[in-house]
């Protein structure tokens, strides 16, 4: 800043000063920095000391703007420049706020101060008071030109502050939206699998939104693991993410194979213009110890089998959701007990200054260097730390799962051609198994309900029906038949012979359900 005495500046010098000051004020999208830029621009060029006070409302991140005029009920000092009389006053005299509130946008010369002069500039945008600035001068008073210039700077600052506020609020809104749509915690107590997940929003520039993960517990102990990334950032991406996530949950609940889930998701995304996302879907079956994985243009998962090096799983990457015409594939991967699978978004491994492959190699290496048997939550934190996730611009979603399987002797499976003797056979098999499993208290209910379901199945099935029992934290019984019609929960008339099976199941089971699958349907219950 050229330091000509204020009174003697030419028009050209004023314009040059205004240009420089405006630039330094408007260069940030951060409220405090705008205020600091404002204070720094006027000291010492126009004042010996400057203080900026802003509304508390404005400074609290996610709040919506209050009614007009009530914004500055309380203010707080956010910036100061120059030195007189020690440090600035954190809480300004009540009179100042009153003066700022009643006036228009123009400067108000303050009467007091023991020596020199003071002037207050309200910071207003479209009539709304955001706060105010006060300038002090040790000697002499402020010239009219100086007040005009100051008023101009105050208007400029207020606009920048309002922008910064809106930006901060949008980022906060996106963050709230994003977090609300991500399940806080994975479903707990899932047999045969343990899960930890992390979401980190992007840098303070608030590049939030669009990354997601999901964990869904499915029939028969299977667990769906999903990580996805919607193209772009901000509120639109967060909203798209929410939509895709809901669609995917619905498709997965239909028990479609992973590639068909992605195929259907793609078809739905195509009908909504501008929806583009990558997605990785892994379906773990703790009974067969297999992961069925399908990929839509996402970075591959890492599998760490005990005693081996962590490796990237080669899943055909297909292409992103929303492109269309991609033939997604499902790859079955054997995951021995104790395996760790890690799925993440590119925010964790991608950097501008290097290839993606190097980032993935770094991820594999970081996993390999972790002590075996380390707590899964600690592992996640360790991976985020090792890959410097905190300092990344992009947001990061990370999902890690320890796969431990359900022991084979906790599962039994029989197929039987539908016949008049099937219910009786099913009762005998279930009874024998529950005796072996030492569950005498469950025998009566389980045999009754399985027998009812097999009776129903025999009535409509044309191909062999199957009965499966699984013992984990609960006793799960499934009856599968090839008839696609779902049973209806209905109160049978007193004279009716059949139709009570599902009613009994609904009364006696802890949980129950019916799933239509490609080969018919499965009716299941838990005791």
């Amino acid at each position: 800043m050229t330091e000509a005495p204020a009174a003697t500046r030419s028009t050209r010098e004023w314009l040059a000063y205004l240009a420089g000051a405006t630039e330094s004020i408007g260069s940030s999208l951060d409220l405090e920095q705008v205020a600091a830029g404002f204070a720094a621009a006027v000291v010492p060029a126009l004042a010996d000391h400057a203080v900026v006070y802003l509304s508390d409302y404005l400074l609290r991140e996610a709040d919506l703007l209050p009614e007009r005029g009530r914004l500055a009920d309380s203010v707080r000092m956010v910036a100061t420049a120059g030195t007189i009389g020690g440090s600035g006053v954190t809480v300004p005299p009540v009179g100042w706020l009153a003066l700022a509130s009643q006036g228009g946008a123009g400067p108000i010369v303050l009467p007091e101060t023991h020596s020199g002069a003071a002037v207050l500039f309200p910071l207003r945008v479209r009539g709304m008071l955001l706060g105010f600035a006060v300038w002090f001068r040790l000697t002499g008073s402020f010239l009219e030109t100086e007040l005009l210039v100051g008023g101009q700077l105050a208007t400029q600052s207020a606009l920048s502050m309002h922008d910064a506020y809106l930006y901060r609020r949008e980022a906060a809104t996106v963050d709230v939206l994003q977090r609300d749509m991500l399940t806080a915690e994975p479903p707990d107590d899932m047999p045969g699998i343990q899960i930890a997940q992390r979401y980190l929003p992007g840098s303070p520039a608030a590049r939030v939104g669009g990354d997601w993960f999901d964990t869904i517990r499915l029939r028969g102990g299977r667990v769906a693991l999903i990580v996805g990334d919607v193209a772009g950032h901000g509120i639109r991406s967060a909203a798209t993410m929410g939509r895709l996530r809901t669609v995917m949950r619905t498709l997965i609940a239909l028990d479609l194979p992973p590639a068909e889930v992605l195929q259907s998701l793609d078809a739905i995304a195509l009908s909504e213009e501008g929806t583009m996302a990558t997605c990785l879907y892994c379906l773990y079956d703790p009974v067969t110890r297999q992961c069925s994985i399908s990929n839509a243009g996402h970075i591959p998962p890492v599998l760490h089998v005990p005693g081996e090096q962590p490796r990237l799983l080669e899943i055909p990457a297909g292409g992103p959701i929303g492109v269309g015409g991609i033939n997604f594939q499902t790859v079955d991967v054997t995951t021995p007990d104790g395996s760790l699978i890690v799925m993440c978004t590119d925010g964790l491994v991608e950097r501008r200054d290097r290839e993606l492959g190097l980032g993935l190699a770094e991820l594999c290496q970081a996993i390999g260097e972790q002590p075996t048997g380390q707590d899964l939550e600690e592992r996640c934190d360790g991976l985020l730390h090792a890959l410097g996730a905190g300092s990344r611009a992009d947001d990061v979603a990370l999902l890690a799962a320890n796969l431990s399987g359900i022991p084979a002797d906790r599962v039994a499976y029989w197929i039987m051609s539908p016949s008049a003797r099937s219910p009786q056979l099913a009762r005998r098999l279930v009874r024998g198994l529950l005796e072996k499993w030492k569950l005498p208290e469950s025998i009566d209910t389980a045999t009754l309900l399985v027998s009812e379901l097999v009776t129903n199945a025999v009535r409509y099935a044309s191909r062999p029906i199957s009965v499966r029992l699984m013992l984990t934290d609960s006793l799960l019984c499934e009856v599968h038949d090839d008839d696609p019609h779902l049973p209806v929960l209905d109160n049978p008339r007193p004279t009716e012979e059949g139709g009570r099976g599902i009613l009994l199941v609904s009364r006696l089971a802890r949980r129950w359900g019916v799933t239509r699958i490609s080969t018919g349907k499965v009716v299941w219950f838990e005791l």
Partner: protein, 219 residues
């Protein structure tokens, strides 16, 4: 030849073709065969070195033929699948192998001190199983041992998708299987049931039954 189901020839041809296609994927899908290995151990414990054993439906030869041969028993393996026999030849060098169906087992093969049929009766219609068991009975020496591995189910020659191939399978509930085996002239010494989960999504988990039997003099 005894009584055979009508489409038996076509049926056996298709089953052989299916197993030709499955080949070594069979062992990949069923890597752990604890129940089968235990049954082999039982035989080894009962038989003197050099005793003759028939593996009826030997498949890839592992684990059973290898296990029996390493224990010093003299093993003959039969299977209908050429591809399976070729794998067995690699897996268990020097073993006596014949491309024969279970329905073709005759006295000229024997006599044997023991026979095993692990998951091979599974591939036959129920109508054929009693006569196969009779053939095994007749090819065994007096007091000869028989170990059977089966899947517990109540199906007769139903088509299923097995490792991506259409095959037809048969199973009995435990009590029924024991009765069929007894009716063919065997004493059932012990029955073991075992839950089993294959390492693939292309085959179903199952309950396996292992029957340890002894040939009675006459049925």
């Amino acid at each position: 030849m005894g009584v055979r189901s009508e489409n038996s020839f076509v049926h056996r041809h298709d089953q052989a073709a299916a197993f030709d296609s499955i080949g070594e994927r069979y062992d990949q899908a069923f890597p752990h065969k604890e129940g089968q290995v235990a049954a082999g151990e039982w035989l080894i414990g009962q038989l003197p070195r050099g005793a003759r054993v028939l593996d009826a439906g030997c498949g890839t030869g592992v684990p059973t033929m290898r296990q029996l041969q390493e224990a010093g028993l003299s093993v003959t393996g039969i299977d209908i699948s050429e591809v399976m026999l070729a794998l067995a030849r690699q897996n268990v060098p020097g073993v006596d192998l014949r491309q024969l169906d279970l329905t073709e087992v005759g006295p000229e093969l024997g006599p044997f001190d023991a026979a095993v049929a692990f998951f091979s009766l599974l591939m036959l219609p129920r109508a054929d199983i009693p006569q196969i068991l009779s053939r095994l009975h007749d090819v065994l020496a007096a007091g000869g041992l028989l170990a059977i591995g089966m899947v517990e189910a109540d199906v007769d020659d139903v088509p299923i998708d097995f490792l991506g191939m259409p095959v037809r399978v048969t199973g009995y509930p435990r009590d029924d299987l024991e009765r069929v085996v007894r009716d063919a002239g065997f004493e059932v010494l012990q029955t073991i049931d075992l839950s089993y989960a294959p390492v693939t999504t292309q085959a179903l988990p199952e309950v396996q039954l292992f029957l340890y039997c002894r040939r009675l003099v006459s049925p």
